[in-house]
């Protein structure tokens, strides 16, 4: 039994390190925070973590197949811009029109009300998945290296986002914003379930922030089944040895397309939440770039190898949380905002260098060149 646990820990040393690091950092953060261990702090942190955690999951899937998706930030931004048109929640619907080089096309009215919002959410997530699917097709059927293919498609998606929102704007339904960015109790009160959240059995869980619940739900309902499916296993196989996967008759093309599609879906979730949280759509190119790069950093901190084949999206969630908690510390300890990028960079470099110190123990230099 104990041996069993020891083996599992050794196999997942990356994830275990990320979880421990996060646990220690977060405990220290709450101890140092004047309102530590309260639902309010947890809710605020959840809102700040969610988008990056989704992008980290998004980045993980192609990385497992030894690809890299440089378009996750762009997909997030594009979906956010779509959301700022589709989720306005206006009771009598939102009129949509297209304006290309001065030519106006009416697209009818997007339904309002609760059904309109639900339809809008589905459409936004489908847009993200479609963008990922296109990435996958370019990579698999175009036979272009993922890193450069997604660099190019990312430019296209950012272009579409800029087309939709040349300047930040739009609107998101206030109730939706309130329900998703607060605690479960507020969610229940907004959507009128469980006696508006006053049910006695509901009280013990009412303090949990909705973003964390969403994160766990997405991980359990999307990632875990994918990981256990044939396609999911094929993604890992492609990442560790594509030739061997091909010779074993695994569906490598479908696996790659599925990996990029899932990445697009996760990035879409992140973009949708970011739009709901900020109540607007904003085609912010530097922000998209920063999220893409931070997603790669999260993946590495979360114990997934950039060479592919080992790791997990769950680890990347913790990697994203570690990155975010580090920036929380800047607020607590009043570190000058000007010094924050320096500390972020040093911590990232330190983390990857320490985990790389194992190379000093390698006796046969040939083992270094994988």
């Amino acid at each position: 039994m104990l041996d069993d646990i020891a083996i599992r820990v050794r196999q997942n040393v990356g994830i275990v390190t990320a979880v421990l690091l996060f646990a220690i950092l977060y405990l220290l953060y709450n101890l140092a925070h004047p309102k530590g261990f309260s639902s309010a702090v947890l809710v605020q942190n959840g809102d700040e973590i969610f988008a990056l955690a989704m992008l980290a999951m998004a980045q993980t899937v192609p990385v497992l197949a030894s690809g890299l998706d440089l378009s996750v930030g762009a997909v997030m931004t594009m979906v956010g811009c779509f959301a700022s048109y589709l989720l306005t929640g206006a009771a009598d619907g939102t009129p949509l029109h297209l304006d290309i080089f001065g030519l106006q096309f009416g697209l009818g009215t997007f339904p309002g009300g609760v059904s309109g919002i639900l339809l809008g959410i589905v459409l936004c997530l489908a847009t993200g998945a479609l963008a990922g699917f296109i990435n996958g097709c370019v990579v698999v059927y175009g036979r272009i290296q993922p890193i450069i293919a997604t660099l190019a498609t990312g430019a296209v998606y950012i272009g579409i986002a800029l087309f939709l929102r040349p300047t930040p704007g739009g609107k998101i339904d206030e109730d939706l914003n309130w329900a998703l960015t607060n605690s479960l109790g507020d969610f229940a009160a907004t959507v009128h379930i469980f006696d508006d959240g006053a049910a006695s059995w509901f009280a013990p869980v009412a303090w949990i922030p909705v973003p964390f619940v969403l994160l766990i739900l997405i991980a359990l309902l999307v990632w875990v089944p994918f990981r256990r499916s044939v396609i999911g296993r094929a993604v890992y196989a492609v990442g560790s040895a594509e030739g061997a996967a091909y010779m074993s008759g695994l569906p490598i093309e479908r696996a790659k397309i599925a990996a990029f599609t899932l990445a697009g879906f996760f990035a879409g979730c992140g973009g949708l939440f970011l739009a709901i949280q900020t109540s607007s759509g904003n085609a912010d190119i530097p922000q998209a770039g920063a999220y893409t790069l931070n997603s790669i950093a999260s993946v590495v901190i979360g114990g997934t190898s950039l060479l592919g084949g080992t790791g997990s999206a769950i680890g990347s969630i913790f990697g994203a949380m570690v990155l975010r908690v580090i920036s929380f510390f800047f607020r607590i300890f009043d570190i000058a905002p000007l010094l924050q990028p320096l500390f972020e960079g040093l911590i990232l470099l330190g983390a990857v260098s320490i985990s790389a110190l194992g190379v000093l123990r390698v006796k046969n230099t040939l083992e270094l060149f994988r």
């Binding site: 450069i148 990312g154 430019a155 296209v156 272009g159 320096l342 960079g345 990857v352 040939l366």
Partner: protein
Amino acid sequence: MTTASLGLSRDDRPILIAALFILVILVAGTVYTVARFGSAPLLSPTYLLQQLQIGAFLGIVAAGMMMVILIAQIDLSVPWTLAAAAMMATSIGGPLAIPVGLGVGLVVGLINGIGIAYLRVPSMIFTLGVNAVMRGLMVAHTGGYAPQTGATDLMRMLAGDRTLGIPNALFVWIAVSVLIAIVLQRTTLGRYVYAIGNKEAAAYLAGVDTRRITVICFVLCGLAAALAGVLLAGYSTKAYQGMGDAYLLPSIAAVVIGGTNILGGRGRYLGTLIGVVLIVLLNSVLSIMDMPEAGRQVIYGLVIIFMLLVYGRGERVTS
């Protein structure tokens, strides 16, 4: 088969197609300007020289980036290496400005190289961290504002002035190009670079000190980015925050459009030159057309995909 019968090697085909595409851009842009304004600025030597002067900065960055891509690595620290070199050069000033600026690039390249070659950290993540550190250092150094110090006269002369009607920046670009082309084609270092890009383990077994070569490539890339930064500061008479951000992705795109394999080991320097010219001309035609940023991004992405679909396709994995 057909390429062989035309006497073209696998590495020449992308260069030829990219060159043809440049002609297409020139013709399409000229047809547009003639139809709309009744003039053809794209064909005037003055305009083209001016575009090439702006393109020189991208060209120098791309030359360094190519060295790194050829050994199957990547350098994401270019934006803030460029900006840091420019900021340090302008704040030191005097005759030491340019050596100090280049020194920044040398140090960054050394750190990158050591982390990647000896610690074996993936270049993607290590250079990302170095970029963040450089950004942090520069933000702390300048207080987050545009530095008030200006470029020295020598920097302005190198980047902004002209000799015999030709911009000096173009001469610098040509000098860098000749140097890189000679290194790649005529020296053992160049042979080693291609060998490492193809299979590092094989190069190591053949007796190449692959880690030292990796460090040298990153140092060259850092130096190139720093040189571009110093020149860009001279061109705009000062350094500013985020001045390097517009150079990372276009430099990678230029190298890849020029036929260099992003996985390393294959590609000629002439291709990178053509790739840079292609991107610069595409940008200038789009700005003549008054294309909004949204359209630019879309066209930019589609051109990269199109070019790679024509000649950049990998081989199907079959074993």
